[in-house]
Each structure stands twice: as structure tokens, then as C-alpha cells.
Symmetry: C2
Amino acid sequence: MPLDSPKDPAIAAKAALDPENFALANCVRALAIDAVNAANSGHPGAPMGMADAATVLFRNHLKFDAANPDWPDRDRFVLSNGHASMLQYALLHLTGYADMTIDQLRNFRQWGAITAGHPEYGHAKGIELTTGPLGQGLAMAVGMALAERGLAAEFGSDLVDHHVYVMLGDGCLQEGIGQEAISLAGHLGLGKLVVLYDDNSITIDGPTSVSFSEDVPARLAACGWHVQSCDGHDGRALDAAIAAAKAETGKPSLIAMKTVIGFGSPNKAGSYAVHGSPLGADEAALTKEALGWSAAPFEIPAELAREWRQIGARGAAAREAWEARLAASADRAEFTRRLSGDLPAGYDAAVTAAREALFAAPKKAATRKASQMALEPLTEALPEMIGGSADLTGSNLTRVKAVDSQYTREAPGRYIGYGVREFGMAAAMNGIALHGGFIPYGGTFLVFSDYARNAIRLSALMGIGTIYVMTHDSIGLGEDGPTHQPIEHLASLRAIPGLTVLRPADTVETLEAWDIAVRNRKVPSLLALSRQDVPQLRLEAGDENLTARGAYVIRQFGEGRDVTLIATGTEVAIAVQAAETLHAEGMTVAVVSMPSWELFDAQPEDYRRATLGDAPRIAIEAAGKFGWTRYVASEDDVIGMTGFGASAPIDRLYREFGITADAVIARAKALAG
Amino acid sequence: MPLDSPKDPAIAAKAALDPENFALANCVRALAIDAVNAANSGHPGAPMGMADAATVLFRNHLKFDAANPDWPDRDRFVLSNGHASMLQYALLHLTGYADMTIDQLRNFRQWGAITAGHPEYGHAKGIELTTGPLGQGLAMAVGMALAERGLAAEFGSDLVDHHVYVMLGDGCLQEGIGQEAISLAGHLGLGKLVVLYDDNSITIDGPTSVSFSEDVPARLAACGWHVQSCDGHDGRALDAAIAAAKAETGKPSLIAMKTVIGFGSPNKAGSYAVHGSPLGADEAALTKEALGWSAAPFEIPAELAREWRQIGARGAAAREAWEARLAASADRAEFTRRLSGDLPAGYDAAVTAAREALFAAPKKAATRKASQMALEPLTEALPEMIGGSADLTGSNLTRVKAVDSQYTREAPGRYIGYGVREFGMAAAMNGIALHGGFIPYGGTFLVFSDYARNAIRLSALMGIGTIYVMTHDSIGLGEDGPTHQPIEHLASLRAIPGLTVLRPADTVETLEAWDIAVRNRKVPSLLALSRQDVPQLRLEAGDENLTARGAYVIRQFGEGRDVTLIATGTEVAIAVQAAETLHAEGMTVAVVSMPSWELFDAQPEDYRRATLGDAPRIAIEAAGKFGWTRYVASEDDVIGMTGFGASAPIDRLYREFGITADAVIARAKALAG
């Protein structure tokens, strides 16, 4: 099968272990070398080292059909060490994904190409997720495996029965989120998760021994994993290991593959020099010679190309059989709806009923409690909602009747105990959303959005509708003190492009916020919710979701405006209180509730101008003032925090930090002067 | 010793294992119960469960002298599960720390008290660090142990020879950062790190079995730790385990203590109900009866109080002997300087020489390269500087000659390979800074500040001078693409109170930024540095550190101002280029370089007004626009990013995203109208 024999005897010895696999893997290696050289930028080492294993996986195990990349029951392939992107692009091209043309490979890392430096979700079919920030690919894969099991329990293995394969390197295992994912996967016994670890002993700073010397298989075994080790360049050993991993259905599997980074490169193999730099023309030539590869750059010998195309079509029959089963299934409509992300008939009515109930009997409640109230009918109407918390269920109030079934090793329920693993939770939710079939939501304290931050960013970058429930959203958290009181968090979340941050003011806005979040299947939402009670301010019944406007006049005192008070969340009640006093003293005041900056900024200019008005404006928010000058003239016009919080009962904190109606009134008078 | 015998036979059986220790531990339990009840807020369960172990530790092992809490060679005590704060406050009070009065305990969690909900560094002596955000206490402890070993190597074990003891719970072990710390500590064989794990099988959401089922000792053993298990209520077994842990000098030690949360409470022990809620008056009475405790609330029987005071004074002789050794040491002056945080004679001259060299021979360089150039003389002049990187040394350029000695298991060098563990690195640096004797700095990509974010926040909250070196600070990172290009990061870091963010424009500003960072021993600094080259813009020799002004006019074109261009970092050169063209076309332009918002905002109002001027302003920064309305009228006046980046060569990216001199010119003309 190889057109030439490898010149290097050590390489020839490896090739001899499984010559056909070696020849196919050389196609991947050659394309990776060529594309990185053409871009003069990229990471050739990992694709060269992982090519043999990836070839075995795609050739013998991965369930996919390149001509139908959206087949819902395909195996998911996760390249967690995303810098090895050329491995995946080469595989997609070779197996015949229509959009992954050779020109895309030639334009690796160039403007407008779908072949970005790291795999970007949405750029090309077959890229199941965005990777690059290390450890998160693995954690998202855990979410995919959670979704697979949940969906299989609902719809049966005739429709849902696939694996999630992950390739990763040392970095994913050094990152803390890797361990969070490992621990959760082991705890829940995710038997369909199979991880191939590229154990190449090389890290950017040199040999991994500069910073990493643990016994990885023993660590994972301690976390309930099935572990194996093998030669990562021995096709037959790899094949047997993957088969054994699939046979173990009660535990996730690790295959620690001993590999050589930059395999084939006479002068750079086994060195960190090949991690993130092109081989260059000379070494590329030497490498190809050593590998027995004589084709021109970006060319694949016909026989190998044909075989790769056959691999890409290998799953067609299975897919067709699956399509037939789906067509015959009584669950066809519901399964199709669930995978499409469409909301069911009955959802609108559930929201409307919940709205009407609030208008009929207004309630004073913390917005976290209002969130729980909203979740009751929504989770009832939407079987696709799957909840959870990073071990703060009783505080986040994320568990309600319809999801009151724990996701366990034995049975996949609708509530996931993510443990004290905020980052792992966020990434797993991304994986659930990417898999399809579910709308994931999960809770923690707003301050711990810090821990999960890069996963929230990836939700936004990928454009997926993960829902973050972040309670205890200000100094209103009280006695737990400054480590637990968010200050800069609202600003820093609003700064993330493509994330919708919602800080509702009362029960009605909270319901509306949930409705927005649920409908937004391409945009992540983050609900910032209070620990403390607030009155229901929205009392006039009506169908319009005003929160979807981002901001609106919630109270008007008198005609015209001497001042406009803009507030979010729990501080809207303070603004209303201040406005009442100001009006009693003769001023005209508009109070604007602004639950979402992003939604407001997306409104037509006329609406924005009318809402904000021309009068002096004051913003009130129990958080850092950073960013508010988007809407007010100066940070002096923000009634907010200038430093960290403190440990004390809530009323004392608001008073000491001057977030009070009196402070609003004083500033309003000064401005209206 | 106990005044009464425990009423509960199971408790009596535990008490009988070490009656004296049990009686002393009851003092801690009683105070924790009383303070949480008085506050009607807090976490009684963990202090009650860990009291026996903490008593053994303080009584028989911890090297400390309550009358001299700043003794540099004291053992460090880290309560990583900070919600158990009353355990520590009780211990500090009982052992006689002067500031921890009984009134402070009575005012637990109240405004102005030093007894915050979670231990806050700086509130009271004996609180070595702020904890509460889980996992970080352990990671900071790793930094303390790194510092101890490094300082001991420099000054000898006569002056430096102490342990770092950590108490923690399940949460710290579930958080990913916990694993990062565990892995690094095991890798470096930090034998003086001893961890007592409160294995109480309870988490907030219920039994730990809802989310956590791994074999923790096996996991840590796989990471190179010495592990033991014992009964956490058996004083003698605990004593033997701690002794064995100290005897193991080549590995960090874990003691997994099987405990009962809320130990002693008849109706709540062993339940999550006692984790975060007061016992209440009735259950407190029942608990005290069960424990054999009859003293009034906040009262300690005299005999027990006396014994606790003796424990607090137990280390006095050792401290005096240490003082004598220090007095006699040839290293006395240098050791004292190092621990005080004062900079040495010669430092100023080193900075001045470096400045003069830059003015004498201006250099075009990436600011990461300029950082490396600055580090050369600074690390030479400051033996306390200890560097590192989260596995991006060749990219961050953090390694220079004076620190070119790897910190290994065998010998503590001045450069730490933190591995792919950004969060662990940041927290470990905090621990190094808290320990004293070193100025830690460490590098990663700016985008991965996300991973480390809550540790950066803790640097600021604690007020310590950790230095973050964050390179590849914009889309200028190029081909690696959107996952690696920071957009919202500058804004989100500027939003953190008490952090100084510095984005220097050239070699001179970079040197100045380093000088600021090094001098700021009570404020953390974050340097945002470029991948790409920039010209040296500062050409006029002078002594003043203009970067310390935060912003200043770096170029003035003509007299007066038609427009002011404000830029940071690599975009200052673009602003200068645009200004030159505008001036050639007849406009007067001031270019303001603004390396640090925080430093600028701290300037006198006159200076700020004069610098910003009254003319229309435009801001230029290759990052998200969020927050810039602090200085410009509208985000329309910001030449910056509105979404995520892309994968392409740098020049193409700046062009495609419109961050160009042409865009600045067009906007300036529109504004000057």
C-alpha cells in the first residue's frame, strides 16, 4: 500500500506493524506538513504524532457518513487539543466532506478560510465544536456523552446509540477543567466516552518532565475510568484498544498512546521545536523521504485517496438503516423536533398562563425564587430542558418538579449534580447544547462566573444557547462577604460579544428573561438573579415581553422628564422609590428598567432615544460602575460600587455603600439643579 | 479534662480516644456554634467536624507564637475551605491572638468586624490569606511551600524551615484548580506541604455521592503524594498521621480524615443541613449537652482557656531562638530586606541605566520582547524576582539570564514551570507573594486570563503585588484565531477593583510598566503585551516615569487641539501615524498614550483634564469598545472591535477589522466636521 518504503529504519519498523494504516496516516501527515508550511504558521507536531491513531479511529470505528454530516446518531469526534487542527481538516478532506476542499487546506489560517488556526464550530461540517482553549474539548465531550445517554433513555437505542471520541494531549490533562470533566465522567460512568491521549512527553516549554510527572492512567483509574496503554503508532494495537474501550460500557475509557511528536521528522521528531512551528521546506522534504512519501505537496496518491473516500462512505448503510428506523418510529416527530431545536406546541400557552398568573396575583420574591417559579411551567412544557447546579441547588433554586430526577450512573434524569465544578459544568452544558436534543441550564453564584468564564466565552463564540443561572448577584448576597459578592462581574460579562446578560427586576421580568433564554437557541443567555426579595413592579397585564426590549420605561412620574433613572434587577425598586419622593417634591421622573444592555442596544435608534430621553440620567446598580458611561454622562452619575464589598447583613451593606434611594435623590437634585 | 462527660455514647466513645484533645476541641465547636447562631448566618458544620484535627495541629505541630504573629519562620496555616472561618477565628481567639477578641467572635459576619464570613487577609493576624473561592487556598499553599523552599535554599534552614498546613474539604478537591495545585506540588515534591482533608461525605446538594465518587487518596498518590487515612475525631491517630506526614520530606502529604460534619449535633450531624445554616438555639443546646459542654455561650471554662493560651505560647522559645539566629546571621540585613519587601540599593540605578540605554539606542520591538529586555536588568538587580510561565515561556519571553535556573524537585531555581495551569499559576504566585521574600511574576496569553481570573481578583482583594505577564494581547496574535485573541479581556480586567492593568506602547513604556509593577508590593499588576513589533515612540530622554501618570500627551501636532487621539499599546503607533496625516492636512492633534486607566484616574483632576483636553476625542484600541465611554463621548468614537476576531495574518486582521490609521483619520474628520 505505501508507495515507497520508509527510508528511516525505525519508522519502517513502525510502519510494518500495520502497513496499510501507516500509508493512510501518511496522507494526514503530509497534508498537515504542507498546510502548516504554506501558512508558515501552525502546529505540525501533534497531527504527525496522532495521525496513526486518528486513522484507525476513522477507518475502523468512528460512525459517520461524510456525505451526511448532520446525521443525528453519528459518533462525535472531539479534537480537544485544537492546535492540532490540521489533523481534523486533513481527515475531513480525505474522507470527503464536501466543504473541506483542498483549497481550504491550502488556505489554512488565512482570512475567510474555514480552516482556522483552531477548529471553529460553524466553519465546516464535521467540526462538532470549537477547541483550542485546553481542557474544554474534553469537558464538552462529557456533555455530549451526557446528552447521548439522556436522549437514548428517552428515544431508545434504535435512534440514539453513539460514542464520543476525544483526542487530547498533556495540556488538556494539566488544565484543572480536564480533571473536573474526568471526575464527573467517572462518577456518572459515561461508558460511551473514549479518550485517546497523545502521550508524547513534549510540552511547549520542553519535555513534559519540566512540569508534569504524574501517572495519568492511575489518576484516571482512581476516578473510575477504564484505562489502557499502547503504542500510538501501532495500528493494530490501537484498533484493539479502541475495541476494548467500546466493550467497556460502564466506565469512560482512556487509551494512553505513547507517541512521538512530529513523527517522521528526522531532525525535529520528539522535540518541542515541532510543536508550534512549521517544519520548513527542507525538513518537510527530509520528513517525507523518511516516511516514504513522494507525492507533491497537497497531492494524495489516487489509491490512497480512493481508500480514504471509502472510509468516508463506510457509514452510509448504517445511516440509511437509521433513517429507516426513524421513519418507522412512533417518536419520529418529537425526535425530529427535539433535534431541530424548535419549541413544542403548548410552550407559548405555558408562558402566557404563567404571565397571567403573575398579573393576577403579584408576588414579592427574590428573582432566584422568581426563576424557580418560572422554571416550573417551562420545564413542564419543555422536556428538552435539563437542569443542574455546581453544588448550589438550594441556593440557585434550579431544581423544580419536572426535572426532579437525578442524573445518575444508573439512569439519566433531568437534573445533573455537576459538583463543585463551575467550569466543568459550563463546558459540559456547551457539549449538551452542541449535541442537540436538550436545552441545558445550570446554576452557580454570579461571582463564580469567574471560574467558568472561558466556557461562557465559548458559548458566545460558537453561538449556542447555553443558559447560565447565576444567583446572589450583588452585595445583596450579604454575610458571605467580598469573596462571594460580585462587583465587576456584570460589566465583564456584558463585555463578552454575543452573550445576552439578563438581570431582571421582578417576577415578571424573570419569567420574560427565561422566555428569551429558552427561545435563543443560537445565543447564550446569562441570568443574574438576586438572593434578596423584591416587590413585583410589573403590574399591568399585557402580552408583550418588555424584557426583550432590553430596557423600557417602567414608571413615569408626571409629564416630561427632569431626570431619568436607569436601573437593573433589585435596584429598579430603589429607583422607583426614589422617583416617588422626587415626584412628591415636584420633579418629573422616568424610571427605566434595563434588564439587558445587549437587547436594548439591538433596538431601533428611535426607541433607544425615546427610552433614555434627553434629561440628565442616573444609573443605579449594586455593582461596579464600569461601562455605565455608555448610558450616563459620567460615573459620578452611577449609584454603584467603587471597590469590593464586605461581610455584613444586606441592609447594612446597601446603606454603607450608599446604594439607596436617598443617594439617588441627592444626585437627581444635583443634576436637575 | 472535659467538665462533663458527653451524653451521647457514640460521642463519648470518640472522646475516650483522646479525652484532652476532645475537651479542647469542644471549645472550638462551642464558639463556632455560638457565633453562627449569634449571626444567624454561617457554616457551623465544618468547624464542628474539623475541630479535633485542628486542635491536634495547633496543639502539637503548628509552629507559631500567638504573641508574634509575623514571625517569618512560622508555619503557615491555610483554611482552604474558607466557609469554615469560625474554626480559624475560634483558634486565633483561644490561642491568644491579641486582635481576635471575644467581641469579634460575637460580631461574626457583622459590618466592621474582622470576623468576615470567609477569612479575609489583612483583617486579623494569623489569617495568612483570603479563602472562600474553593481550591485556591490549596493552590496558594503550594505557592507558600514553593517560597519556603526557595528561601531556605538561599538563607539556610537556620532561618527558613517551616511547614505549610492546609485544611480543606471536598469542594477544594472537586475544583479543577485543586488538581492543578496537586499535580504541581507532587511534581515538585513539596515535602513541607501537609493537607488535612475533611472527608465528611457531605456536599451542599446532599451526600457527596451525588457528584463525587473518586478515590481521592489514589488520585493524589498517582500525582506523587504521600497519602494516609485516619479517623478525623481520633486525636492520637491524627497526631501520628501528622507526624508521619512531616517525616516524609520528599513528597507533599495528604491525610484523608473521615469526619462527621456537624459532629455532636444530635439531629443534624452527618447531614448537609448543618453545612451552611445555624444550628438554632434548641439544637445548639442539645448539641452541647451531647458533647458534655455546659458553659454559657461565648464562655470558655478557665482550665481549658488556660491550656489554649499555653498552646498559643508554645512556640515562643523557638521563636526567640530563631531571633537569636537571625541576629547572629551574616544574612540578617538581606533577609530582613527581602521579607520587608523593600527594594535593594542598586535597583534605581539599574532602572535608570536601562532607560538611558533605550534612549541612546531606540529599538523597534514587540512589547513582549521589550518586557524581556526590561526583565534582564531587573531580575539581575532583584534576587527576589521569581519567574515562570504556564508553559508558554518562548512566547511570553519571561525567562532571562538571571532567572535561568529551573525550579525542580531537586533544587529550587528562579524559574517555575507551572505547566498548562494558568489558574494554578496565578494562585501559586499569590501564595509566593503572601509568604514573603519573593516578587513572583508569571506569563500566559492574555486570553487565558479567563482561566486565572478569580485568582487575579484575589490578588486585588488581598492587596498583594503579584505580577501577571499577559502576552499576545489583541488580534495581533494573528493566525491562532478567535479562541486565542482577547477582545473583552482588557475591559474585564480594568473592571476589577484594585488591579493595575498596564498596556505599554513601546520599549520605554514597557520598562516603566515593569518598574511600576515591581514597586507596587500592595497592588497586583497585569502587563498586556504584544506579539507584534512596534516602533519606539518615546525618544526624548528624561527621568520621569510617564507611564506612572497612566496617560500623557506623547505627541502634539500643532498648537491647540482639533482632536485628541487616545490609544494604548500597539495602537499608539497607529494614532501617531493618523495624527501625522491629519496634521499634514491642517488639523492640530494631540496623541495621548494611555497605558493604564487606573493610574490615570488616580491623577489630580487638573492633570486629567489637561491631558484629555476639550476637543473631540477618539480612542484606538484593538479590543472590545466596552468601557471606553469613560473617556470618549460615544462608542462610535472608538476604533476597536465589535465582535470576536478571526484566524489570519495580523496585517490582514487589522485591515479587515478596520483598526487602521485611515479609520482614525475618517472619524477625526467627521468629528472635527
